[in-house]
Structures are given as C-alpha cells and as structure tokens.
C-alpha cells in the first residue's frame, strides 16, 4: 500500500433522463455547462487542483462524446506517465461480458485497477454536480478523524430536505443517522455523494456485497448502511460553497443563470482554482456595432450583431442584427436570425431560430428546451 495515496473513482455512467433531449445522445456528465464546460469538467478539475492524479472514470451509457471530450486527459493535466485518467468501461472475461450493475458493482468490477495503483484511500465521485472543492482538505479531515468513511455534506434549505439523503451528526462530526429523502427531517445536512473510504475496508465490503443476492450494489443503499451496522467509524465533512445538482431542465437553466450574478460563489475567474475543459482553438468573439450586450457570458467564436441580456452563450453562436435574446442558455453553433426573439430558454446545439420566430415568454417562469426538431416545456 502506498501510504497516504488517494485515487479517485468517478461514476460517469448516468443517463440523466430527466434532462430529456440534453442527454439523448450523451451521458449526463457530458452535458455542456457554463458557456464552455461539460459537467464532468468540475470534478475532474477539482481532482487536478487537489493534487489527485489517478482518476478512474466508470462509463457505460453512450460514452462516445464523453470519451472524445476526455481524450487522454491533457486538458486537466491528467495525461500522466503513470496513473493519470483512465476510462473504465465494462469488459468480458472467460465467463462472458458483465455490465455494471449499481455504483458499488462498478467499483467492484475494477478491483484489479485499484489494486494495481495500491492506494490507502479511495475517493468516490459522481459526474453530476457543479461545485469547486478541495478534496485534499476533505482527506486531511478524514485522516484527522481516523475515520473509515467520510461523507461530504452540505446544508440545504429546510424545505428541500425531502429531495436529498439527509445525515444527522453529533458534535464530533460522527454520523448518527441516515434518512433517504425524509418527509420530515431534523437535520438539513445532505449527502453530496462524495465519499472517502479507507481502501482496505471498502475492498472487503465490496467483495462481500457482491455475493449478497439481495443487494442492489449501491453505495448509499448497501455499502454505507452495512459499514454503519458493523460499527465502522463514519464522519461527515461539511462543505461550504456553491454546489448544485443539475438534475432537471429547470435546475440546469438556473445553475447557468447563477453565473450571471457578479457575486456568485462559484467564481470561475479564480486563477488558483481553474476549471479546465477541452480546448477548441477558436478565435475570440466579435461584438458588432449594431449589438447590445448586457449581463452575459460569451465564449469564443461567437458573432453578436443583435441584442442579448442575461444570457450564457457557448461557442460559435451567431446572433443576427435585430434579434433579441434574454434569460437564455444558447449551446454551441446555434443561430438566432434577424428579428427572432428568445426568452427563458435553453437552445440546443446547432439550432437555427428562424427570422420572425418568438420563443418563450419573458414574463413566464417556464423554461423551454429547444432542439432542432422539438420544443419541450419544463
């Protein structure tokens, strides 16, 4: 065992079906976000910034775009001589092929990968959330508590506790109780789905759980409760800062709009904690004489001749003269033609909003998701 070494295993197999059209061709971690990122850029950049250089990415559902986004990991400085980022899809052996069946099973199927890296600690991450977090501080906490498991938690508004897995802790941060989506909670600390395990302990439970025919092979439902029942030391690490699950179209749109608040706590401009992404080598964007731009994020290769307000624009977007776009997220390659207007919408890649079209209502709080063929209301 390499003392003090921590590796990360990132569960990126999720379909994210509540994101509808956004995930019809790709896994949820590959969904574009914030003008130039994909969701998975956040945990990957966190790893790199936290000095974690061994990252296994478990893929299963439509991994093609994710694979081509990650490439050899160079964007996140994870193209390493040894270790680095490794994509871990399901595989076959003499007994035939085995798809991943539950989060814990996905890790179990890659025991040999982890054993070869021989870490003391394993960090389990998911590719579904937007946040910046220094995992090395969580590890310091884990070590200082001499815990077997540390679960990262965040305080959520009391009226939303029913949407989360809620943990109750004592004054020493020891976890005393779990509630999965409770109707009435007496704690507002929600699990962020980020775990640090001592690998030797986790390994044992994974092997045992695999043999249990009644197990759903899930960390939250099976592994954690079993370890708790055995009296393993489980502590909660309280995270403070921006954290958002972009599980629905509405929350996806909101998380993008959050970036337009000058005082947003995600702060993408912090040079000490950059979020890295694949680079496209596009030229700067051009704001024409006829344009008006206000409270918006604009990425490379855009050409803005019309009016935009409160928008997040990805790359190579063309907003023609006299077009109006407000409170919207526009994905790469889209075009809004002269005279068209778009409000409270998410416009997907390469969509052309024809001249004269009106999409959305500025006074409604419904968010529209617009693809080339259909419009979905959230």
């Amino acid at each position: 065992m390499k003392e003090g070494k921590m590796i990360a295993m990132l569960l990126a197999g999720g379909q994210g079906s509540r994101l509808k059209l956004l995930t019809s061709d790709l896994a949820k971690p590959a969904v574009p976000f914030g003008g130039k990122y994909r969701i998975i850029d956040f945990p990957l950049s966190n790893c790199s910034n936290s000095n974690i250089f061994d990252v296994g990415i478990l893929t299963q559902y439509k991994p093609y775009q994710l694979n081509s986004h990650i490439g050899i990991g160079s964007s996140w400085d994870l193209d390493r001589r040894s270790g680095g980022v490794r994509i871990l899809p399901p595989y076959t052996n003499e007994k035939g092929g085995r798809w991943y069946d539950g989060t814990a099973n996905a890790i179990y199927e890659n025991l040999s990968f982890i054993d070869e890296l021989d870490p003391e600690f394993v960090l389990i991450l998911s590719g579904d959330h937007i946040y910046k977090m220094d995992y090395s501080k969580m590890l310091d906490f884990h070590k200082s508590k001499h815990a077997d498991v540390t679960i990262s938690v965040i305080a959520v508004p009391w009226d939303e506790t029913h949407r989360f897995g809620i943990l109750k802790i004592d004054e020493d941060s020891l976890i005393t109780e779990f509630y999965e989506k409770p109707k009435h909670a007496d704690s507002n600390l929600a699990s962020m789905g980020i775990y640090i395990f001592n690998w030797s302990a986790l390994r044992k439970y994974l092997v045992e759980d695999e043999k249990d025919p009644n197990s759903s092979k899930d960390f939250g439902k099976d592994i954690i409760p079993k370890m708790n029942a055995d009296g393993k030391k489980m502590v909660a690490y309280q995270f403070e800062g921006y954290w958002k699950d972009v599980g629905t179209i509405k929350s996806y749109w909101e998380a993008n709009m959050d970036l337009l608040d000058e005082n947003n706590t995600l702060n993408l401009y912090d040079r000490r904690w950059k979020i890295y992404s694949k680079n496209r080598h596009l030229p700067p964007h051009f704001i024409a004489c006829s344009a008006s731009v206000s409270n918006s994020l604009i990425n490379e290769g855009c050409q803005i001749e019309g009016n935009i307000k409160n928008c997040v624009l990805f790359n190579e977007i063309h907003i023609e003269k006299d077009a109006l776009v407000t409170n919207s997220v526009i994905l790469s390659g889209a075009r809004v033609e002269s005279g068209a207007s778009v409000h409270n919408a998410v416009i997907m890649e390469n969509v052309v909003v024809k001249s004269g079209t009106v999409i959305g209502n500025p006074d409604s709080d419904h968010i529209l998701l617009v693809s080339q063929n259909e419009t979905v209301e959230s």
Partner: protein
Amino acid sequence: MKNCLGIINLSESDNNMNLLCHSRPTAMLPFAGRYRLIDFTLSNMVNSGITAIGVYTGNKVRSVMDHLGSGQAWDLDRKINGMFIFTPTYDYNVAFAPKFGDLRHFHQNISFIRYAPQENLLFAKSYMLMNIDYQKAYQEFVDSDADISMIYKRVNDPENRFLGCDKIHLDENGNFESIGTNLGIDESFNLSLEMYFMKKSVYFDLLYNAIEKGTAHYLREAVFSGLDRYKVHTSEFGGSVFCINNVKNYYDANMAILNPEIASELFYKNGLILTKVKDEPSTYYKPQCTVKNAFVANGCQIDGFVENSIIFRGVKIEKGCIVRNSIIMQKTQIGQNAHLNYAILDKRSRVKEGVTLIGDPSSPFVGGKKSMISREALT
C-alpha cells in the same frame, strides 16, 4: 506534404517595433486577442499537412521557449518528426553573434536538415501574416520540377504598407525575371511573401557557396545571388496579407480583423489557427457595459465602454472607462474612469483610475509589458 520540411527562422529585424519587441522577437508579438504571429506560420504549415518543422529561435530564447514549449498546441510534440527547436549554440552566441547572419546559424545545425527524411524545404517568415494553404503552391513546385519556388501576392499598395519588402518581376509569360526591393515607385506590384520552397540539394549548394565564397550572410541574400543558376518557379497567393514590420502596420493589422470578412479569412479559411491553451472562462459582460465593434477574447470582465478595439485574454475594464481604437493585451487592467484612445498596452499592464492615454492612428501610444501607469507617475 509529408516530403516537405518546414523551416522558420525567428531572427527577424525588430527595430521598428518600439517597446513591443524589447524582450521578444517579432514572431512572438501578440495578435488578435489570443495569438502570436508565429501561430499563423506554424498553423499554416500544420494545417497544410507538414509534419516536421524546425524553428531557429534567434537570441531571445526565453520568450520563444515559453510560447512554443514542446509544440503541444500544434500537435508537434512528437517522437517521429514534430517540432525541432534550435537555440543558439554556445560558441555562436557568445563569440560570433554580431558578425554573421542567419546562414551561420543554419550551417551550425546543418545535420538536422541533412538527416531529415524530407527531400524538400519550405522556408517561411512569421512577420508576413496570412492564412494560407501551402498544398497548391507545393504541388506546383513539385510538378514544375523547379529548384526554388517563391510565393508572391499581387498587391495594390497606395499607402506604402509594403515599403522595403521584396518585389518580384515576372516577364510577359508570367515567368520569373528578377527580385528587388520595393521603394514604393509602383502602386501595384508582386510582393514576395518571403516563402521559398527549395530542393534540399539546392539549399546545400546555396549554403556552401555563400559561406565558402563569403558572398552572403543571410539566406535571403544567398537565394538572390543564386537565382541565375537555378530554375525558379513562382506561385500566386490570392488571400489577404499583412506585413508586420513596424508599429503602424502592427496596429492596422489588428484593427483589420474588426472586419468580419477578414477575420473569417484569417481565422478559418484554410484551417483554425492553433495557439497555446490558457483555460480562461468565457468573458463576462457586466450589466452596465457598452461594447461596440470589438474583438474580445475569453476571460475578460468588462464594465466600461469599449469601441473599435481588440481585447486580449483576461483583461479587466472597470466601470466608467472609455476604451476606443485600442489594443489591450493579456491580463492588463484598466482602472475606473480611465480614458484610452489609439493606445497599445502590452501584457499585464495596469492603468490606474482616471488616467488618460491618447495616441494617434499613425503613431499609437505604446505601453510596455507590465508597465504601471498612474496619474502620479505621469505628472
């Protein structure tokens, strides 16, 4: 073009670049919000399918190495072929630097070209800026079985932007006749783009002749003096060309990209221009800003009034600023209520609150790298 080796020599004259070339060669001048001039030279070659490129750094090694690194941005960090960087050798640098031109440098690294598997060479300069697909000119060179081929552009130059450049004369059949220097006599002429295709054997012949007979110190001279002995072909280039050999031309070339047609040609026509990655987030336009006719790179935060300007990566323009007709380079910060017109501010400058800097279109105000400009300092 796998049989063609690209050669870029960065020992270009930078006497007319004011503070901008104090610590960098011309090739490393920042351009158009996120590039350096050499990005165009390298990307043109890479996009045309050239897989091996030698770069002779000249003496300002640091700036060159910082930008080129291992060639990763151009996918030239390769085991087979890729980018070969030639810094000055020790002897040359200390003992002979002032006495010899680029031929000495080429000669000291002669084994690189000799042992390269490619049979043809393409020499290019970075101060001639364009987006060119070399494949057509290369095919012509190969098909014509010429010894040397030069690429030229037919230019109309009433404003004398190309003064002092090389000028190619063709006979009535369009064949090469001679090459000379443009003194601005003719308004229209054939501008040499200083790009030469050459057979390797011809290169060695030129080099040995020039050094042994002492007839030339620069490759350009050697080529000119050898033209009577060789079969010379010429190819015309039809696109836009900017010659960045003084501050005025540098300023004008930057401003030219505010024309979307020119921008589209320079940045997209024959392939994207590749450069070093900086991982900047998108640019944030604050609620009260006003931006018109501007070319803006990523990572900026803009809260003032910006017009007819080129804004590089990571620039901050604070509330109440007026920035017009200016070029603001990487990570420069413009404090509140500052007023800039016809200014070029180099990387990481800081203009403090309320400062006014006004240049003239024919002679813009130039602020050096990392300069700190405050009202206290100016008075």
